[in-house]
């Protein structure tokens, strides 16, 4: 696996590294959802960028047709220069042995506000709780750490931060560690 640029749609140069599994997975997604952007297809890793309106449909398709059955992690990444927060779901499969190597990164973006009001501003995404119940605590963590409210998650309370935390979400880029 090389450290090539993959900011644009750029499939890996050496196609021999990519197996048929990855190709067929990415083809079936792009066939069903033409608006979806497949950012890269690396060995054992596929990344799919979707709009937030589409994420539930794409996730349901990935679960029902491609047999990914759980989320390993939900990581939020703050992009202040784009004025967006990105949320990446890393999906895996226990039930399908041919997919046990694969991790499908399902990414979506939501607008970001300079002065955040977590839960009451525009930084919202539909929750994937109904599709993958395993995201529950991960989304809770993402909400408190990046201020992305997940509509539909039954539990959006605080998880790791102290009860009296009154600052902005700490994994936002404009939250600076003192002395650094």
């Amino acid at each position: 696996m090389s450290s090539t640029n993959n900011t644009e749609i750029e499939k890996i140069e050496d196609t021999s590294l990519v197996s048929d599994t990855e190709k067929s997975l990415s083809d079936s997604i792009s066939k069903k959802f033409p608006n979806v952007q497949i950012t890269y297809v690396n060995p054992n890793r596929i990344r799919v960028n979707v709009k937030r309106e589409e994420i539930i449909d794409v996730a349901s398709f990935i679960r029902d047709e491609l047999h990914f059955d759980h989320a390993e992690s939900v990581s939020g990444v703050d992009y202040p220069e784009d004025n967006q927060v990105e949320v990446v779901y890393h999906l895996g499969s226990y039930t399908d042995p041919s997919l046990s190597k694969q991790i499908l990164a399902l990414a979506t973006r939501t607008p970001r506000e300079d002065i955040p009001h977590p839960g009451n501003d525009n930084t919202k995404l539909p929750s994937l709780y109904d599709v993958f119940p395993s995201v529950s605590f991960h989304e809770r963590e993402c909400f408190e750490m990046l201020g992305v409210y997940f509509e539909g998650n039954p539990d959006n309370r605080r998880l790791l931060l102290p009860e009296d935390w009154a600052d902005i979400p700490p994994l936002r880029k404009d939250f600076a560690i003192k002395g650094r």
Binding site: S2, D69, E72, Y94, I103, F137, N156, A166
Partner: protein, 377 residues
């Protein structure tokens, strides 16, 4: 800030039957975590785990430090398993920087990772024993793990926080007679852990306390996204060392342990059975390892990754440990997300404890192979 209900702070109607009970965060039986229980008499009717007591912001700290200076603090979440928690980080950074690890270093990494897995499992087993009131099962594992701690001290120079893995290999080679000493220790260790069956795993008191408590079905284990021993105790054969082998695990001769019961007893047995496989792996690696060669590639000062991201995962003592590293061409990672087994298994906890008796809290909770500091990060 928006108005939000915080865990444990809700105002509740005083009811004559249901009582709220806080277990932790300083109670030794809960680890560094609070479990908010609602009990009806002796039965748990609602369980709300509240982690975060030892949250240190490892992910935020990583964004401020270079790829190399991230090593010592990233292993802090689980110091007894510090090699395995650095493993995905090193694999990810190697992928970002395009480094090729020398052959001898790959084998030594596998040996160090397996020794560490045993050290962690022994510590966890000691805690599991003492919270079931079995003092011998605390003393034996804590004593026996000293063997492997000594070995790791010989390898790395430190007893617990080794900082042994670096991107591009390992920090230093092992001392000259290491292989003989290691083989001797591993053989003795294996003989010792066999005796745990007599005193603990075949003990009727343990069996009566843990059998058929906290049952997690195969479907629920998959649906809740559990991992590691919890998943394998519920009948799902999934181990990253087999499914997505990293370094030289592909060439190692070992089996994964799978049990079908899904109860506390099965969950507590899997890590113990895994230790026998670890001994097999170490012996195999010692045999197949090249006898000499470099153990580390030379890095440029302050290496920079490209404009890309990686997600690498390994099998730690508590299950799959994944790291998502986003790089923006700087010497520091732009974002580092750790997906840890303890946090993922925590999702299963309310599911397991609801409906159990209060006395079953320690056997069910500790069978999750949960390490609060790792879950909090």
């Amino acid at each position: 800030m928006s108005e939000r209900i915080l865990p444990g702070l809700q105002l509740e109607k005083v009811d004559d039957r249901i009582m709220t009970l806080n277990v932790g965060p300083q109670h030794p039986g809960s680890g560094h975590m609070r479990i908010i229980l609602k009990v009806d008499g002796d039965y748990i009717v609602h369980c709300d785990p509240d982690p975060g007591y030892v949250h240190r912001g490892e992910e935020k700290m990583a964004e401020y430090r270079n790829y190399i200076t991230n090593i010592p603090h990233l292993e802090r979440p689980v110091i007894h398993d510090s090699c395995n928690i650095l493993y995905p980080y090193c694999l990810g950074v190697e992928e970002l920087l395009g480094l090729e690890v020398p052959e001898r270093a790959k084998y030594l990494r596998v040996i160090a990772a397996e020794l560490n897995r045993c050290v962690y499992t022994q510590y966890w087993l000691g805690i599991y024993g003492i919270f079931l009131g079995h003092s011998t099962m605390f003393m034996w594992p804590v004593g026996d793990r000293e063997l492997f701690i000594d070995l790791l001290e010989k390898m790395t120079g430190a007893r617990v926080t080794h900082s042994y893995f670096v991107p591009g290999g390992i920090r230093n080679d092992v001392p000259p007679n290491f292989e003989d000493v290691c083989l001797r220790h591993v053989n003795y260790f294996e003989k010792r852990i066999k005796e745990y069956a007599d005193v603990f795993y075949d003990n009727p008191i343990l069996i009566s306390r843990t059998k058929d408590t906290g049952i997690l079905s195969r479907e629920d284990a998959i649906k809740l996204g559990t991992t590691g021993s919890v998943l394998r105790a519920s009948g799902v054969d999934f181990d990253i060392r087999k499914k997505e082998p990293y370094d030289v695990y592909e060439e190692m001769d070992f089996d994964t342990n799978v049990l079908k019961e899904g109860d506390s007893y099965a969950r507590s047995k899997i890590p113990w059975l895994d230790m026998f496989q670890s001994c097999r792996i170490i012996r195999d690696a010692l045999q197949k390892m090249p006898k000499s060669g470099s153990v580390r590639v030379k890095l440029k000062p302050n290496p920079r990754g490209g404009d890309t991201e990686v997600y690498r995962r390994v099998e730690s003592g508590r299950g799959t440990l994944g790291m998502h590293i986003v790089s923006k061409g700087k010497p520091q990672p732009y974002r580092l997300k750790m997906s840890v087994g303890s946090f993922r298994n925590l999702i299963a906890m309310p599911h397991l404890l609801t409906g159990e008796k209060l006395g079953n809290l320690p056997p069910v909770y500790w069978s999750l192979n949960y390490w609060p500091v790792e879950a909090d990060r």
